[in-house]
Every structure is written in C-alpha cells, then in structure tokens.
Symmetry: C2
C-alpha cells in the first residue's frame, strides 16, 4: 500500500472517502478516553492535521494509548465522514505502527509556547503551527518569485558570494580565510601576508550581487539573483540579521518608471500566489499573528501604488502639522516615522523617487538637476521599505567622476565600469530583502522568526 | 509602441507576420553592402538571433552602416518572411536608434574564441553563443529542480551558511571573521580571542546544509535545499571550485530504495524539462560541444537505472579481465576508471549501494552486516558520480557510538543527535552538485565554464 501525503488527502478527499489509506507522520496531540482515542496527526505536507480515531476493538489498544505526543507513526485506516465539528472527515484507524518514540519531556507540547522559547529550539520549532506555517510560506514565496521571473523571460543568475572587490566598504563584509588565525604568515612590515591565502589576497563574503548582475543583464536583458547575503552589522534589532536572502533583478533598457512597473507587478504576483497556495497559513496568521493581515494582502493586489518624489514627500511631511522627531528636509533620508505617515497618508504602498544623491549609492544615475538620483524605494504599510532600486549611471565618464567623488576604488571594479563602453544602455535594478517580504506576508515581526536558523551578533547556534 | 522580447517573437510568429514590432538588444554581427545591410540581432531572451535587413532608403543609412558589433540598439521594423535560407522570418528595418556604442576593439567579435580566452572575460562571455546557452540552461535547470520538488510537496529550506559546528572537519571550511586580521585580540595563552568576534566564537561558511535539512525533514517530511556551498580544497582540476551550488533533499519515512526512486524520477524530470525548454541550446551543444549529447539525454529519460551493490561492482571489475591502475577491493572506494567501466558495462546510469562504512560519513546508517552503510552513489555515463546519498542512522545510541569511533565532536551537534529522540524515524537524503549536473547537461567539461564567476585557488577576480 502506497503512503499518501496529508496534503493530497485534502485535495482528493472526494475520491478517497470510504477508501483505505496509509499515512506516515507525527502525533501533534493525543486525547485518550477509556474506550476511544483521538490522535491529531500531521505529516508536515499540510498546515492541516487529520483526526485519527480508534476504539478498543483495535489490536494493541493499550499500547496505542501509551504513545506520546511527538512520536512518529505509520497508520492505516479508512477515510470517513466526521461527526465532529470543524472537520469534514477523519481516519478510522485499522492499524498503527510506532516508528519513533518521543519522551515525556518532549518540549513541543500541545499548548502555547512563546516565540522566544521556540527560538531557542530552532531545530524543533517548524513542528509548531506558527513556525510550520512561516517556513512553508517562505518556501512557497520563493517559488512565486522564481515563477514570476522565469515566466517573464528573466535568467536566474548565481552571482558569486566570495569576492575581492570591496566597493561596498570592507568594514561591512566578513573576511574569509583558510589561514591558521593563530599562526598568520607576516610580511616584512608586520602585516598579514594575504598572498599566502587560498585566493592570494584578502577575500570577503559579499552583501550584494548587483554588480555581477548588471554584467549579465547586459547579455540577457532581464536577470534576477536570489541567494544569501551577509552583513557584519552589530545590531540587535527586530529587522537585522547577519545572514539573509536577497532578490536582485536587473533589467537592461529599463528606466525608473519601467522599474516601478516591474516591482509593482512582481509584488502583486507574489502576494496573490501566496494567498492562493497558502490559505490555511494566511488565515492562521490573520487570526493569531496580525489581525487584518488577509485584508491587507488582498487590498494590495488590487491597489494602484502611489508614485511620488522625495521632494514632494518632504513637502507633505512638513505641511502635515505633525511634530517630528527628525525634521524632514530635501537633503536627508526620511525616518521610520515619516515612512509610516506617508503610507498611511496614501493608504497603500508608495514609491518614493528621486532621492538626494549624497545619501544614495555611487552607481545610481544622477538626474538632470545634478542634486538627485533616479532611485526609488517602495514603502509598504506596516513594513516600511520593502524594495530599493535605481536606474544605473550608464555614462562611463559620469560614473568614474562620481566614484572619485565618493572615494570608490575603481581598480577592483574596472570590468563593471567597462560595461558602459561595450554596448551599454540605460538599465535599472532593485533589491528586495526576502525576510522583509516574509515579515510583510506573515505578520511575524522579528526577522529571527522567519529565518530557519538565524544568525545575529553573538548567536550562531545550530 | 511596446518593446517585445525576441523569445516572444519566435513564439508568436504567426500572429506577428507582416506586423510592426519594436525590439531592443545588441548587434552580434553586421554585414554591410553598398545598398543594403544585415544585422544579426540578439536581445538575450533567446538563443536565437533575428536578422534585421535595411536598405539605403532608410533614414540615416550612412550612420547605421557605421554601427559596430556589440552596440546596443532600438529597432522598429516589420516582421516579414525571409528569402534567406535557415530562417523563417526577418525584420525589415523602419528606424534604428543607437543606444550604446561599442569600440573597434570590442573583445567579443563574431568569430571563434577559445574558452580559456573567454574565461578571462567572465563579465562579457554570456554574450557569446556558448556561454549564453550555458547560463540560460543553468537558469532553466534551477527552475526545473524547484518545480520538481515543489510539485511533489517538498518544502524549500534555506539552511544557514554561517556555522560554528565543525563536524565536517574545519580544515575544509573557510573561517570568517570581522576582526582586524592585522591586530587580532589575544588570550593570555597567546591564541586569538575569538570571543571578541561578532558571534563570540570561531565561525565558518559551510559545505553542507544536510544536518539542518534533517531537522526540517522531521517536521515537513520532504524538504530540499538549493544554495551555495564552500570548500577550501586547493585543487586546480576541471571539477573543483571553491564556491558552487548544491541541492540537498532530505526525506522522512524513506529508505534507500525509496531514495533511489526519488533520485531517478527527479533526474529524468529535470533532463526532460531542459530538453523541452532549451531545444536550441541543446542542439548547439550537440553540434559544437559534445557530439551525441542530445541522444545521451533522450536515452536517459527513457532508461531504467541499474541498482547494484558495491560488493557486486567489485566482482564485476575483478572479473572484467581489465588491468586496473587501482585494484578494486570490497573495502575501498572505486576509482574514476572503475566508474567509467561500470556505466559502460550497464550502458546507462548506475546506482551503487551499500558501501564499506569506513570510507563513508559518520551519519550514514550501518547495515546489518556491520561492515557496510546504506549509502548510494549515482554514476552516470560520461560524468561519473552525480549524486551521493544515504539512509541516515536513526538510532540514537548507534549514532553516538559511531561519532565516538570517528572522533566527531558531539557538543556542537547535540541538537542533531536529539532528532533521533523526538519522534525520529527512518529517513534518507542525497546531495547533488549543481555544476556537475550542468556539466552533464551541456557537455561543457570544465566547472569554470558553467559557473558565472568561478572561484578557484588563486582566482577570485570580478
């Protein structure tokens, strides 16, 4: 007899009714009565459990009654209509095999655990309703992203993580080495002789694939990256982790308006995909994590995103009559309090464009005013900045001049600059932190709770 | 007028015939005659180019004739049937806009370049036929893998790359640090004080997600990882790189036979997907890279993979009458020459099972004979080992005993061992090197030529 996934039972329930099935999975809860027993059974393929019912006519009734929560079992039984409320069917147990025991002190008991407690049990927490749902949504969202880009003729590029270019500022990157740190080879001047290391020089793990992505966009027109990213920031906040995943699309022959079209279409596609594929998970989050989540997401899919310049945002903020902790100016970044106000003001997602150039990156295209760059941040209600992108400076001379102004070392990225010489064209790209998207989709607010095994300062267990 | 992708033109050619279109892309070749000109146009969305034809009635005829190979252009024109051989249609140019010039010495000229030459131009090589095809196949293959697993109810898990567990042997892992290597803090005994580092201890970037994958498999039943992996090996061979991508599925309630079923089904799915989605690329490889590639792949999809024990493989090798450089024994690994012989002997892919335990990893399940483990390697004709997997030791006591025998430090992986206590079950998993699969699919034999920006000892440019 072939084992069937719980997910498939739910999807094929009409055909399976009154049929015998075999399932393998784990006991979430076990309620025992004198002549009956009820097992909440979950095999991980679905958010939903199945109730397995047995009575004392079953072989090994006494042994079955002793099986504890968390144990893995194999069950054969008949799918029948359920007399119980809230479930369409249940499985009448014919035989049960205990595959793996679970002790009395198994930490994941059928009761409410705090997220902080479960965070300390990163290897067991996907067995709970909350984290089971979060990491399934993570998987489904990743697939949504791949499907969106692949169906729009993008090429998925694996940009390298190891790099020797320190254009991001090496203080924000982890150094990697194969040298024995207790016995480092030294140069005559006393510094470490990095020529002895595997790559013959100091190398890092990177925080972006954008530069390499641009090279491929100028061959394939449309590319995206989707991979892990590292940052050394020593911040213990709800939104910082030292390892996270990023999506970085890059599109040739695309200006800032075109980029916003893509960002908006992509986000709606992904949100819609998750709403369709994970209705149980979304309902659960809506009930227990963020009231109104489902409405928020449904609304987003139908809304038209606002597009407004940084300049005009500052005007709105200053005219608001609010007393701000940070005074909005045309020259400065906007603060969290401003982001919040502006998404509430427009009652939906807002693209803020044309930022003051001095607070933005060196590779962004300078606008004709000479003061702003063709950059865009997408602010969404409740989650702040979700994507950041820009049109790239495609003029070789302007790019080099800007790099000099901002003290960017050209020598390690000369190839990147050369892209402007060899059939260069106007092009744009954006980055989206995958975890920030998941925080928005699930309502779970701490980045540690949407990463399977989070790495934060002082925390690298498991 | 909306820009259309070349890929979409090929797919919608019947509707587009005699219609006007706008395209943006690059000039692959430009042949000029006195009163005519022919541009081989490619926009990166398709392997195929489109011929753009113009005559001296077009505005700016003289300027257009000066445009060099590699330049980016925007073209409006009419799709018409082509009188030329080997192409069903061409575009009659109405207007052309030069977007980005390319110099006379542009390195990617329409002639044959060696792969070694192009390897030095990693940022330009995707613009060639060969590498354009390789990296598109890389993208499509990645999607095939996601589609296979997602459609079979697997959860995609992002296992962490940063780890403090050194169970693989820390000498094979890159150390990462935020400390200033020229001014390392020291302990009293003169060793580096790693408690001052970001995670408070020595950390690495990892070579496997398997241990974390197992934790998630025991929650979701079926999971897979797909991400970058690092190895410090100082080998300059065609098959070694220091950074590459791996797929590591892990399946609960799955034994070695079940694992082979999955490996076989998955590989056939992926190969078939690539044959269907990349016919032009496969034909190109078949003609110019590996004669017979297409037949090899088509045959694989239809074949039944052989399953044979390591013991019986050794018998076949010893009875072959061949003179081996390495004498096959029941206790040793098999060599490349043996792999080759055995796939030729069976004329197709071969699963070799039940390997001598002392040459395999500590977490593999020991068979009843006490000498072998329930491991399986998949050998494919022409590419050697493509996947390696095993049933995992699910018995806590046996696992701990084996770890002691093999000097594996239990302290950093106690959580992994505990998975055997909390509803553990028989489970299996395998790893597949993504680049090895690509080498098999494309016929390109050097790993440096299937990774966008390869990292090998002494080479970390771009």
């Amino acid at each position: 007899m072939k084992v069937i996934d719980v997910k498939d039972i739910y999807e094929q329930i009409d055909e399976l009714m009154e049929k015998e099935v075999m399932v393998q999975g784990w006991i979430r809860n076990h309620r025992k009565q004198k002549e009956f027993g009820f097992i909440d059974f979950n095999d991980g393929t679905s958010f939903q459990t199945i109730q397995i019912v047995y009575d004392n006519k079953v072989k090994n009734f006494d042994e079955i009654q002793k099986i504890r929560v968390g144990s893995s079992i194999e069950v054969k039984g008949k799918v029948v209509q359920s007399p119980a409320k809230g479930q369409a069917f249940e499985i009448q147990l014919k035989s049960l095999k205990l595959l793996g025991d679970s002790p009395e002190d198994y930490p994941i008991q059928p009761k409410r655990h705090t997220r902080e407690f479960l965070r300390e049990l990163a290897y067991l927490r996907p067995r709970t309703n909350l984290f089971g749902a979060v990491f399934r949504v993570r998987s489904v969202t990743a697939m949504a992203i791949h499907e969106y880009f692949q169906s729009h003729n993008y090429v998925y590029v694996h940009t390298p993580l190891i790099t020797t270019a320190d254009c991001e500022g090496s203080d924000q990157m982890f150094k990697i080495t194969t040298l024995d740190m207790n016995h480092l080879p030294k140069c005559e001047d006393g510094t470490v002789d990095m020529s002895k290391d595997l790559f013959g020089k100091l190398a890092f793990v990177t925080g972006t694939g954008q530069l390499h992505g641009e090279a491929f966009a100028l061959a394939y027109k449309k590319i995206y990256t989707f991979g892990p990213t590292f940052r050394t920031e020593n911040s213990n906040t709800k939104t910082h982790a030292n390892e996270f995943w990023m999506i970085e699309p890059e599109i040739a022959f695309c200006d800032l308006e075109g980029l916003m079209d893509i960002e908006e279409e992509m986000l709606k596609y992904v949100v819609n995909y998750v709403l369709e594929k994970c209705p149980n998970e979304i309902n659960f989050f809506d009930s227990f994590v963020e009231k109104g989540l489902k409405e928020k997401l449904t609304k987003l899919v139908k809304s038209k995103f606002t597009r407004i310049s940084h300049h005009d945002v500052v005007d709105i903020l200053n005219k608001s009559g609010n007393k701000w902790e940070f005074t909005p100016t045309y020259e400065d970044d906007i603060a969290k309090e401003h982001e919040k106000y502006i998404t509430e003001y427009f009652n939906g997602p807002v693209f803020i464009t044309n930022w003051p150039k001095d607070i933005k990156a060196w590779y962004m295209k300078t606008n004709e005013d000479g003061k702003t760059v063709a950059a865009v941040d997408l602010e969404v209600p409740g989650a702040g900045e979700l994507m950041g992108g820009s049109q790239r400076e495609e003029d070789y001379d302007k790019l080099i001049a800007r790099m000099k102004e901002m003290n960017v070392d050209e020598s390690t990225v000369d190839w990147f600059c050369n892209l402007r010489k060899y059939g260069g064209c106007y092009h744009s790209g954006f980055g989206m932190g995958f975890e920030r998207l998941l925080i928005y989709l699930t309502g779970v607010e701490n980045i540690r709770d949407v990463i399977p095994f989070p790495r934060t300062p002082g925390n690298c267990d498991y």
